[in-house]
Symmetry: C2
Subunit: 236 residues, 2 copies
């Protein structure tokens, strides 16, 4: 039975980390809200349920009787079923921990353009966004990406945990792609400090199922409604 | 063998969710960095490792050969070992998903006093903090706590998933405690909208091991270095 993925139909956003795992695994899935407007209504209605396992926010995944939300939890579930995570408890926890650190970084990316709040427009918080982005570029990107770069150096630099890709590698690919889109000037200078991470990015991009996905219209282009947004004022 | 918990020794912070689970379980553990200054040095050194499973940030837990970081991943690990989570895959995922939503909320609490960046002092971002806190009180608290309140209503209101407490219930106790500390004026008005959540808080506080912990000097008092900070300008 095909998985049903519920996520906003016009952005990559947090759903993209799930899409990348499903695509890499060659899994049969339906991106429900992209298929029809009724899909969006169904998604909203499922989140309002009082019983079952309603999610606070998309994405969530329906797999038979299981409905699971929160990007990292979805990946934890898929990783075990599609060989995108180790089999051992320690290995599964480690990859999950890495994914949670990626999730923290994604939140910080989001807050570069929305430091004051999600209910306000970017233009109404532009000055705060400039300040937050300056700190993001100077402190936060080097801290987070430096961490992953160090792990790749220590591990021999094929994939994060060795010779086999996990969902965390797919997510790091997306992080590099997203930063290149949102902060092109900054990344042009910064990338030379993370050669292993860039090599990992390229390696993921070359995986046949990922390459096919990126070339398809299933891959939604980056845009200014998603997490990674290209605002000139925030890039230097 | 006793667990070793590594976390900042002078704050509750994110480590507190782990402490609450360990205490409720009656688990044998050492709060390493609270024991000695050498513990803090050891913690910093472990995070700098290139091999093994070094954490990006505290808290992390050493359990025999396993070292696991990220609060929610630590709780996922402990939940299975100490009957603080269901045995089924679906049940474990659901409680984990709830914890990840709590973690998202904790990040938003943090950002009320640090909307521009962690490298700046509160006083240097006070105006932005006021704006962010206004949105937090008006939009975000009702959205997050309303979600958990709805789940408690739907589930019959003993604990989140039924009659047995999980680590997510312990964490919700901490959320209510923290909000009462940081936003006392606001919570005095708001609490009447979340009667089930307040009842859950009281139920957790009455659990014998939790009550004993809260009365002990192992419980660090709230202070203005942690996640929940009492700043008059942010409370209304």
């Amino acid at each position: 039975m095909a998985y049903e993925l519920y996520y906003w139909p016009t952005i990559q956003g947090r759903g993209e980390y799930v899409r990348l795992a499903l695509e890499d695994a060659g899994a049969d899935y339906v991106d429900v809200a992209r298929r029809s407007k009724a899909g969006v209504s169904a998604m909203m209605k499922m989140m309002q349920a009082k019983t079952g396992t309603p999610s606070f926010a998309p994405p969530f995944l329906v797999s038979g009787k299981i409905t699971v939300g929160q990007t990292a939890a979805i990946l934890l579930y898929l990783g075990g079923r599609h060989d995108l995570a180790p089999k051992t408890e320690a290995g599964r926890l480690w990859v999950h921990q890495l994914q949670l650190t990626i999730a923290d970084f994604v939140q910080e990316v989001h807050d570069t353009h929305h430091p004051i709040g999600v209910s306000l427009y970017y233009d109404d918080q532009k000055n705060a966004a400039k300040k937050r982005s300056a700190e993001f570029r100077k402190e936060r990107v080097p801290k987070f990406l430096g961490y992953f770069e160090r792990l790749l150096e220590g591990g021999g630099a094929t994939y994060l945990i060795g010779r086999k890709a996990t969902y965390a590698d797919l997510s790091l690919f997306q992080i590099v792609e997203g930063l290149r889109y949102a902060f092109p000037k900054y990344m042009k200078k910064y990338e030379r400090q993370i050669p292993n991470l860039i090599a990992l990015h390229d390696r993921v991009a070359d995986r046949p199922n990922i390459a096919a996905y990126l070339a398809s219209d299933r891959r939604i282009p980056f845009n200014e409604d998603g997490i990674f947004r290209r605002y000139k004022a925030l890039d230097k």
